[in-house]
């Protein structure tokens, strides 16, 4: 009776050794056959269509350097890109949908608003990145806010506004954004037709006169950080006027837009009282830009649970996240759901990881990983990290 289990223990140990040896096998044949389908050579997002869904395309280093130098891609994605030695984005349904809509929009009509929503880690920001790449290729003027939560929930410094009573400036962040805006639109801003429509008076000695180039305004904001917040608002205003006149075509992309409407911010006054989001100077400019009262523009925002405090992360749906005020501000908007990976996308993602030597294939990998991560892209990435 007692002898037999012992024999078993020995047998189990032997099996265990054979299991370790099986780890060394790194070749899986079935994935070799799929290798062609997960990647597309089409690097221009203008040419992406339905047949490219679930395929990866390479974001060229030159484009990335112009678009996403000062933020725009999630941090974890950046580390992945560094490890993989290339930046690849998956072509997914929501981004294609928005791009398709952008192709068909009548730009003489008021600006259309799109709201990307979805659960945590489903890839809203990356869908936004894909759309931005498309807009970049289409020579849109890009007004991109990488993450509103950085302003409302972890701003670098705050000071009382000088021009407006009771408002709070977050000048360092504003200057950072101006730099981001400048690098993203370097090729458009150099065009001579982008000029200011009116005088901007900063102080007794400092003014930006009418018909000076927009670039000058930005340079001023970066140089004189004290006026950065007001410069941002002025630029927002100018962009609206310029696109209304048809001098440029603008895309407004704001990530974590619902932070503009979430009552509890971490911006504080001198007396350490929390400030309402509408009392932050920057809010005004971007809320102004997301109205529909201008032409030649398209507005894409994401609403995200992560942009608000943890205790209120109840639902991922846009009406809840925007609140009554935000919903009325954006209404009518086109909600676009960014959902979890489909089976095809999971396989494609895993194939990509295998091709990048990130995960070691073993039998049953796909099913197991899909099940454990519940097809959530972020969780999938996290789970694959240790495989």
């Amino acid at each position: 009776m007692l002898k037999r289990p012992e024999r078993f223990i020995i047998k189990c140990a032997q099996l265990h050794n054979s299991y370790i040896q099986s780890l060394h096998t790194t070749v899986c044949l079935s994935s070799q056959e799929r290798l062609q389908s997960f990647r597309t050579n089409e690097e221009n997002p203008l040419n992406h269509n339905e047949s490219n869904t679930a395929q990866f395309y390479k974001l060229l280093e030159s484009d990335k350097a112009k678009l996403f130098v000062h933020g725009g891609l999630p941090k974890s994605f950046e580390t992945q890109a560094k490890t993989f030695n290339e930046t690849c984005l998956m072509i997914r349904q929501p981004a294609l949908d928005v791009i398709n809509c952008m192709k068909n929009i009548d730009y003489n009509k008021p600006a259309v608003r799109f709201v990307l929503y979805g659960k945590k880690g489903t890839g809203k920001s990356l869908a936004m990145a894909h759309i931005l790449h498309y807009a970049f290729k289409q020579d849109f003027l890009i007004v991109h806010v990488p993450w509103v939560g950085n302003w409302m929930r972890r701003c670098k410094e705050q000071s009382n506004s000088e021009s407006k009573e009771g408002y709070i400036d977050i000048n360092l962040d504003a200057a950072g954004w101006l730099l981001h805006f400048k690098t993203q639109n370097a090729h458009i801003l150099s065009k001579p037709k982008l000029k200011t429509s009116r005088d901007h008076v900063w102080s007794k000695r400092e003014t930006t006169p009418k018909d000076s180039p927009l670039l000058e305004l930005i340079e001023h904001g970066i140089a004189r950080i004290k006026y950065a917040s007001e410069t941002v608002n002025a630029i927002c205003e100018e962009i609206k006027i310029l696109s209304n006149d048809g001098k440029c075509r603008t895309i407004v992309a704001i990530d974590g837009y619902n932070a503009f409407f979430y009552r509890i911010t971490r911006v504080f006054t001198v007396k350490k009282e929390p400030v309402l989001p509408e009392k932050v100077t920057l809010t005004e400019g971007f809320l102004n830009l997301t109205k529909f009262d201008w032409k030649n523009g398209v507005i894409i925002v994401t609403v995200d649970e992560i942009a608000i405090a943890e205790k209120d992360q109840i639902s991922h749906l846009p009406r809840y996240l925007l609140g009554k005020q935000g919903f009325e501000h954006l209404d009518p908007f086109v909600p676009i759901l960014v959902s979890n990976y489909t089976k095809k996308e999971v396989l494609s993602c895993l194939d990509y990881y295998k091709e990048r030597k990130w995960i070691q294939p073993y039998p049953g990998l796909e099913n197991e990983v899909e099940f454990v991560s519940a097809s959530n892209p972020y969780k999938l990435m996290k789970i694959c990290a240790s495989l």
Partner: protein, 323 residues
């Protein structure tokens, strides 16, 4: 050996016990002899020793009535009215209760059976007979009230109260005073505003699913008074709901009980977007319905998708791809 002797003692003892009542029965002659034989030393000069108690005469219970019941008896006369269970009158081998081991206790001395209400007086033949007897006092059912719909139309208010009949020193039951009136809200023919006010006045008394209002009155001591009070309440609420007070005009959006698209910012923004009146905008109806359902029924994946589809139609964008 020891155990044997002990059991023997036991045997003797039990025999003595058994014979004791026997000896009492023949007491009179034997007592005298005993007194003469044993003279008890009465030191303290107590008059008498304690007398043996007189054995109480056990009344023998009569056999249960059920033994004598014929099969074709008239049950209605055996059990004419409501009454708690009596084992000897019910010729049924009923059992009730639970014991840990063994079967459920039978009907004799069974408190469980006595506690529960029974309907032994309401057997079908008895009911039939009573109905027959009552029939001659009834009037024929009005022909106009053939179905429930007609009844509701002619008698919209349903009044409910209870009478109690029981054997107690008082014939009054405090529960008899309670009066409930029920009616359909639609039978009041109120307009939208008045209906809203009426609902706010009656509060929880309104049942949304059946569209009925139920007013229960029990504050007066008599049934008549309560009925009058209920009628008064109904009349007062009805007339008050038609009244328009000056402060009612101040009702703002936050006080609305449901989302009305035509009164909201959504309509204004759509009109501003198109620069037209609502009636002239194509596809606006579907959009307004989608917004209303989104607001009224709460947000869900489905309602948001519907909203998106309607916005796409409104703005003339290509349809969402099917997944």
């Amino acid at each position: 050996m020891l155990s044997y002797s002990r059991s023997f003692e036991k045997f003797l003892f039990s025999n003595v016990e058994k014979s004791l009542p026997f000896s009492i029965a023949y007491s009179t002659e034997v007592k005298k002899e005993v007194k003469e034989e044993f003279r008890v030393l009465n030191l303290k000069n107590v008059k008498r020793q304690t007398q043996p108690k007189r054995a109480q005469k056990q009344l023998e219970a009569l056999p249960p009535r059920t033994n004598k019941m014929p099969v074709d008896q008239d049950w209605g006369s055996v059990w004419p009215g409501p009454r708690s269970f009596h084992p000897a009158s019910v010729p049924l081998p009923v059992r009730q209760g639970y014991v840990e081991k063994g079967v459920a206790p039978d009907k004799y001395a069974n408190a469980e059976l006595i506690k529960i209400p029974n309907f032994l007086h309401l057997t079908p033949p008895v009911i039939k007979r009573q109905c027959e007897a009552l029939k001659k006092f009834c009037t024929p059912w009005p022909k106009a009230l053939e179905n429930d719909k007609e009844c509701e139309k002619h008698f919209p208010i349903e009044v409910t109260s209870s009478d109690y009949c029981h054997s107690a020193p008082t014939i009054r039951n405090p529960l008899a005073r309670i009066v409930t009136i029920k009616f359909k809200l639609s039978s009041l023919n109120l307009n939208e505003r008045a209906k809203d006010k009426f609902l706010r006045l009656v509060g929880e008394r309104y049942n949304k699913e059946t569209d009925t209002v139920a007013i229960v009155t029990d504050r007066c001591p008599l049934k008549k008074q309560n009925y009058d009070y209920a009628m008064y309440l109904l009349t007062a609420c009805y007339h008050e709901s038609w009244n328009v007070e000056p402060w009612e005009e101040l009702k703002s959006e936050a006080d609305m009980e449901y989302y009305d698209w035509s009164k909201n910012a959504s309509k204004k923004s759509v009109e501003a977007l198109f620069g037209k009146q609502t009636e002239d905008i194509p596809n606006v109806k579907e959009y307004s319905e989608a917004v209303s359902t989104l607001m009224n029924e709460g947000e869900s994946e489905y309602s948001v998708t519907k909203y998106g589809d309607s916005v796409r139609k409104l703005l003339g964008l290509p349809d969402a791809p099917k997944t």
